[in-house]
Amino acid sequence: MTRSAYSPAPPTIAQLAASYAAEVARKRRRFLVFATGVALAVLAAGWLAEVDLGLFFSNIHKFPNYIGRIFILDSGPYAGSFVLFDIPGWFWGLGKWLRLLADTLLIAYVATVLGALFGFLLCFLAAGNLGVSAPVRFGVRRILEFCRTVPELVFALVFVIAFGLGPIAGVLAIIVHTTGALGKLFYEVLENIDQKPVEGLIASGASWTKTMRFAVLPQVLSNFVSYALLRFEINVRGASVMGFVGAGGIGQDLMEAIRKFYYPDVSAILVLIIITVALIDLITERVRRRFIAETH
């Protein structure tokens, strides 16, 4: 390689080492600043949350104790032994719990379908590329934002008072939240579509609804279904705690078991919930894969 007379001299080892050291030092400094910031924030937070380290160390052993205790039977012929020695005794309430779990799944299903439907209807008004006027778009986006930022359990608390105790309040609460969450995901999908089919239909004189149906919908439907299925997974988890505020499903029994110290019941219900959630995750994953494979 020939070098022209005007090019700078090649860097010496010392220069290279110096620039490397400077670079590393810069990175270290930045990390140090971040770590100090987090440390200070944690200290302030600890002070605010009234964290008492003495209390922490004197209490921490209670947690493994609790976890151990929920796996020990407390009544029946096998009282005091590990739950697996008497599985029928452990799952004494299986019939009732499975019915409540089925209710929980139904709550999640109904809420996901209706929430997805509302999200679907609203997302067309919130997307920035489909010719909706700016004030309408702004309004719809704020509504969706409100729906997904207020925690669904807060909605459930209010709905329980308005609609009475029971699954209706739970379903409505999850519907509101799902509408907000899916509405946002949906309009983001809409904003990423290929505009050419839309322009083609508008140019050939199609109405707004026809344009949506034949130019937009075919592009986005598989994504929408995929998001709705993901949301169903999340909603099953959400529905399992709706009972904490009296809004239906298995949560009520779980809360009673925890509050009234029915130790083995706690583990039995938790095991059922974990298995159900895992199964639902597995099934929706399969369905999503097949759906995406079919449409692409």
Binding site: K62, T149, P151, F163, G238, L270
Partner: protein, 272 residues
Amino acid sequence: MANASPKTAHAAPAWGGWLLTLGAIAVLVFGLWHLGFSLTKFLVGLGSLGKFVVLMFPPDWGDNASLWRYIKALAETVAIALLGTTLAAVIAFPLSLIAARNTTVSQILRFFARRGFDTLRGVDTLVWALIWVNVVGLGPFAGVFAIAISDIGSFGKLFSEAIEASDKRPVEGVIASGGSRLHAIRFGILPQVAPVLISQYLYYFESNTRSATIIGIVGAGGIGLELSEMIRTLEWQKVAFLIIMILITVSVIDRLSTQLRTAIAGSKATPN
């Protein structure tokens, strides 16, 4: 199939689609019936909901003492989220090294670590909160642990996936120049995954701020306790004020965390 006519090629999926739609609608109708929906119930409920909404305006915090209490509860909520997330990240990092294929010490330990993460994630934060309230008593302490426990599951999974996705050439370089396995992790893997991990940490802090607003409902500290009490005693103006406070806080934390994420991690780290 080349010789299938376009008509038959389309017929099969269309039939399946219709059947699926019909089934879905049938389950929906059954669900609505089974869960006790009725138009009258719905309309009556909607009527009282409308009354509540009217009563919420104008939002009002009552006296100054309760305003101060709300601000403190809100700060406590953010504190719970921060402490819980930090605790989870600190505990999850070493565990994620065990759960990642390329850094694990034994396949059996790896299996148990991964199943453990799945179990922790499978239980909702609110359930953990209820359990911790039983163990350490009412208060923010229980909330911190509830968030920490369920996030150890999430972080463990995400961190170990990030570690598995890291480039193995730096590790080979460190080993080739005589480094130990720990050296390989420190100098080969950590610099690669640190931005991703930090970004996930911030992202979870943001989402935990939302969770922390509700764990108070079961007595685990934060603004949720005040909020659920005001709802139960039908103090709608205060409810509206508290909800507005929560919305503002959540959006401020959102903004802050997004900015920090882009500043620290650059564009290459967007979790999920």
